[in-house]
Every structure is written in C-alpha cells, then in structure tokens.
Amino acid sequence: MRIWKTVVSTAILGLATFVASAHAQELNDPFRGPALDSMKGKTIAYLPISLGFDMAQAWGGVVKQEADRYGMKFVSQDPNWSTDAMAQALTNIIAQKPDVIVTQNPDLQSLARLLKQANAQGTYVIQVNMQGAVQTDAFVGPDLVGIGQDMANIVVDHCGKDGKSKKIAIVQGVLTGGVSFFEVQGVKKVLAEHPDIQVVSSQAADWDASKARSITETVLQQNPDLCAIIDVWDGQARGTGAAIEQAGLKGKVMLITAGGGAQSMCDALSDGTFDYAINYSGVGMGRDIATTIKMLLQSKPKAGTIKYMAYSPYRIMTKADVKQDTCWNPDIYAKLLK
C-alpha cells in the first residue's frame, strides 16, 4: 500500500512539476526575448525630404512610436525640401553609424552614392515612397506605376463612353520627382493602348496648389469640353479642383488623384472636389516601415543583400467610401514627432 502511495504521489508531483514548467514556458515566450534583444538599443535615423508634409509625419510618427515601445533610439532631421541640406544631413547621419536609415530620394540620383556608402558600412537603408537609382535593403511605398495605370483605366472607361469628349489633361508634380515620374509612366502605358484618348495638356505644377490652379484654369479655358483631369498628388489637386469649380464645371470634368489619405483627402472627396482618389495610406506605410525595420533587425542579413520591394497596399476611393475616421488626422502624428 505504502509503495503505491509513494508512486502515485511521486507521479502527481512529477505531473505537477511538468505542468508547472510547461506553464512557465508559456508565460515566458521563448521567442520574445531574443526579438526584444535584437531591437533594444538600436538607432533609427529618419530623414524625409521634409518633416512638414502629412505623410512624412505619419511615417515618422508611427516609426517613432514603435521605436519608443521597443527601446530603440529615434533621431530625425528636417532638410525642408532642400536637396543640398538633405545630402549634408545624410552624410552626418552615416558618420554617426546608426543601425537603420529611413529616407526618401528627392530625385533618382542625388543620394544614390551616399545610400550605397551607408549599406557598405553595415547600416540598413529603407527608402520610402521615392525610390532612387540604387536599390538598398528595402523600398516601402505603393506601386506608383500601378497607381498611374489604375487612374488611367478609370479615366479611359469614363471618357471612352459615347458623348464624352475623349480629351484629358494631366497635372504633374515635379518632373523628376519619383512619385510624379512613375505615376505618369503608368498613365502613359495605359493611354498608349487607347490612341483615341487625347492628352491636351501635361504640365508640372511643382507640388503647388496655386500653380495647379492657374494651369488648370487655362486648360479649361481652351478645352471647356475636357472630360477628365489626372492630378498626380492630392495636395496640389485641391488647386486643380478649385479651378474646375471656378469654371462652373464641377461634376462635368472628372478629377482623379492619389495621395496618402490624410483628412484633407476625405474632405475633398465628400465635397465633390475629387471624384476619385487613390489612397495609399501614409499611416499604413508607417506600419510597413516599422515592420521592415523589425524584420531586418531580427533576421540580421548583411546590409544591402536582401533588396525587398514592400509594396504598400492602396485603395481606390470615391465619395461613397468616406466614413467617419476613414482618413487620418496629421496633427496626431505631428504631435508624436515633436
């Protein structure tokens, strides 16, 4: 009897210990520790073209939040749209040897050599939205050529109908800027298959709503029967929309644009300034950047070896898609960055 008692109690004790240890293992996720360790104390340097526009604030805001959460150091610089200042800042950042650099390219070439140099010294480089001539560890941004194609397809469908004029206009940003360049490339790809659609004007508005307005005003003057306008960026498309409204053509000339989905985009959709807007969520891109940083730091590839295109999702929106909180408030992210 006594022996049985011992056996049973030992068995119970053993089982209890086993359960306890298994339970302890559950409490202590074996994968969390190494993941946290790989991120803790790392430095992320953030260098957008400017910290003053909504998307740069969303990207930086989300990344900074994640950096704070996992004990990473976040430093940022604001070159305020100056390519020179940006190259200078990037040189300084490289000298400080951070672990990750998150940056953009004002044009295809200016930063190419520096980005290569950063990769060579073992710093991960993530390029956001504006891809340069050199491919680094990752590119985070929407498929801009695809966006251009989508915009053109909507316009071709709309203007190809009977009774429409088949005349369209394109309002570009800065000709050499990545976003404008690639979107226009996509638009042209589609239009090449539809020779009946005629582009009556394709001018650069320099990312400036006033310039977009005055260009569009003249274009509408010359072509009051214009069918649609493709504007590559929602920030300047406000001016394009103002010109359409001024000409009394709101609702008659279709305006389609693309952007990061800040509140101003939803406002312009709901008041009918934009008929379509392609939203490549700035906040979503911030998340994609943060995810890419975590992936790089945890899997530790040699800098510059994986070359990953993280195409950020986008959605095509009309007035019907605008609900409360569909778009984001840039002020929240500006505050996070302060």
Partner: protein, 325 residues
C-alpha cells in the same frame, strides 16, 4: 535723315508685350477671347500685387526679400487659427498684425540700426519662416482653408460682373499705390529718398520714419496678396517660401524698368512687366510647354529686354547712379 527714337525700358517691354500679344492672337486659337484674357489677368494678379509692394520699397532704394515668407506665414497662421475655431475676423486681425509687426521690425532695423536692406530682409525672411514653422504652423506645411469661410472665400474665388475679384483687388491696389506715390507728401518723400538719401535728409524729410513706413506698407500688401493666393487655391502652401517667387517679383519690377538704385519708376512699370509675364505664361500654357522650358523662355525674354535697353540707353557717367546694381 536724322531722327532719334528714345525708348526707355518700359516702352521696350510694352512693345515686346504687344508683339507677343499680337503673335499669340494670330497663332493660338482661343487666346484672344474675353474669357482667356480674364484668366490671363487672374493668373498674374497676385504677382502684380506683390510687385507693387516691392516697388514701393525699391523706389525708396531698398529691397524686401522677406515679402514671400511674410505673406506665407502670416496668411497660413490666419487659417490655422481659423481651423482651431478662432473667430475669422480675429484670425485675420492677428495674421495682418503679425505681417505688419514683422515688416516693422525689418523697417526699424534698416532705418535705425542702418543694416543694409538686402541683409536685413534676407535674414528676416529666414527668421519669419523658421519662427513660423517652429511655433505657429505646427502641423503640415500646407494649411487648408476651413470649409465655412463665408465672404472671405470671395477674395480669391468671387467675381464682380464677370471679372474675378482678385483682378479688381489688384487694380484697386495698383491705383491706390499710384495715387499714394504720385500725390501724397509721403509718396514724394519716398522718391526723394530713393533719388538722393542724403539730400532728402538735409532737405528735412523724416527719412527714418518714412523708411519704416515703406516696409510696413510692403508687409500689409504682402498679406493681401497672400489672402488672394490662399482663398483662390483653398490652401496656403508655406513651401512657396522655397520657390523662386521672390525672383519673379523682382523680375516684374525690374523688367518694367524700375531701377534697383531707387528713385525711378512707378506702378505703371510694374503693370507693364506683369502684363508681359502674364501673356507669356498664358501663351506657353496654351501651347503646353513644359515648366522648365517656360523658365528658360521667361529668362531669355528678360535678357532680351535688358540687352535692348542697354543698347538703346547706354550707361554713361550721367545716367549711371551710385548704388546701381
């Protein structure tokens, strides 16, 4: 046969403008329509208004390089305040007050501390932009206008008898500036100081207060130009400070024949310069010429105007003035 034509730069530019106008009217279908001419005027109204602000300072032998920064920040701040539910009239008063204060500081530094206007306003422009971006425009650098603006929206978007209110406002400012410079004592003082500062001072002109007033006027006019820009495009883009707008303003002033050495020219010169630029820009947009090429053509026209002027009116000891740039 002995006859001499005496053409100043203003006349040369006017002739160029008329030639271009005639050429576009014949060659470009749709150029010579009432609607397009209204659009043409509308598109350069802001440039013209800023040019008038600048010319007042230039006649008094100064220059205001802070005019664009002052315009952008004060107007953006106005609408940022309005977005934050400050009553619109108060927001406008505060914005205008800021623009006036900044130009007052420039004026005082130039008149009393005797720092050259080039450096003062260059530094003030950077200061205004930096201060504004750091402490006033806290969010993004483009401030969108609130939806319920009421009558204020009409500044840039309204029309009176089919003429855009922006054009009417620009003409009104031009007329006021013309009358001020031509017929008021203060206006004549500005000419006198620009022509010969020391002589004006000995003659009893209150040179320092007049200098301050000159910059104050430029600041207030800049604010009005900013209100037209912002209400027309439904947004105020502070990034405009980084653009070459300030050079365009100097371009329309100089193009019309106003000497940077002061004391010469007037509102009419600015209007002629603005008109030429307006005709050019409008024609080039109709022809769908790319922006970079447009800049090239614009600068070539300026060079041609200057070359014709220097051939027809060669500089010598009599016409050259000290301080000529």
């Amino acid at each position: 046969m002995k006859w001499r034509v005496s053409l100043g730069q203003e006349q040369i530019v006017l002739i160029l403008a008329i030639l271009l106008f005639a050429a576009f009217s014949v060659l470009l279908p749709g150029f010579l329509t009432a609607q397009n001419l209204v659009t043409l005027l509308r598109s350069v109204a802001v440039l013209g208004v800023l040019g008038i602000g600048m010319v007042i300072v230039v006649i008094g032998r100064g220059i205001d390089l802070s005019i664009v920064a002052n315009m952008a920040i004060s107007v953006a701040w106005t609408f940022q305040l309005a977005n934050d539910h400050v009553p619109l009239s108060l927001a406008i008063a505060l914005g205008l007050g800021f623009a006036a204060l900044m130009s007052l500081i420039s004026g005082i530094l130039i008149a009393y501390a005797e720092i050259p206007p080039l450096f003062t306003t260059l530094a003030m422009g950077t200061f205004i932009y930096g201060f504004g971006r750091a402490h006033m425009i806290l969010g993004i650098d483009v401030v969108y206008l609130p939806r319920d603006l009421g009558w204020v929206r009409n500044i840039g978007q309204g029309t009176v008898f089919g003429v855009p209110s922006a054009v009417i406002l620009a003409i009104a400012i031009a007329l006021a500036a013309f009358l001020f410079l031509r017929y008021t004592k203060l206006g004549r003082f500005i000419y006198a100081m620009g022509d010969n500062y020391a002589a004006a001072r000995i003659g009893g002109t209150p040179v320092r207060p007049v200098l301050v007033f000159q910059y104050l006027l430029a600041g207030v006019i800049a604010y009005i130009a900013g209100m037209i820009t912002a209400t027309a495009a439904s947004a105020m883009n502070t990034r405009i400070v980084n653009s070459n707008l300030v050079y365009d303003i100097i371009l329309v002033v100089v193009l019309g024949g106003v000497g940077l050495s002061g004391g010469k020219g007037g509102v009419r010169n600015v209007l002629v310069g603005t008109l030429l630029i307006g005709i050019l820009l409008n024609g080039m947009t109709i022809m769908d010429i790319q922006y970079t090429v447009q800049n090239l053509i614009k600068s070539s026209i300026l060079l041609i105007a200057i070359i014709i002027d220097s051939v027809m009116n060669p500089r010598d000891e009599q016409t050259a003035q000290q301080g000529d740039i």
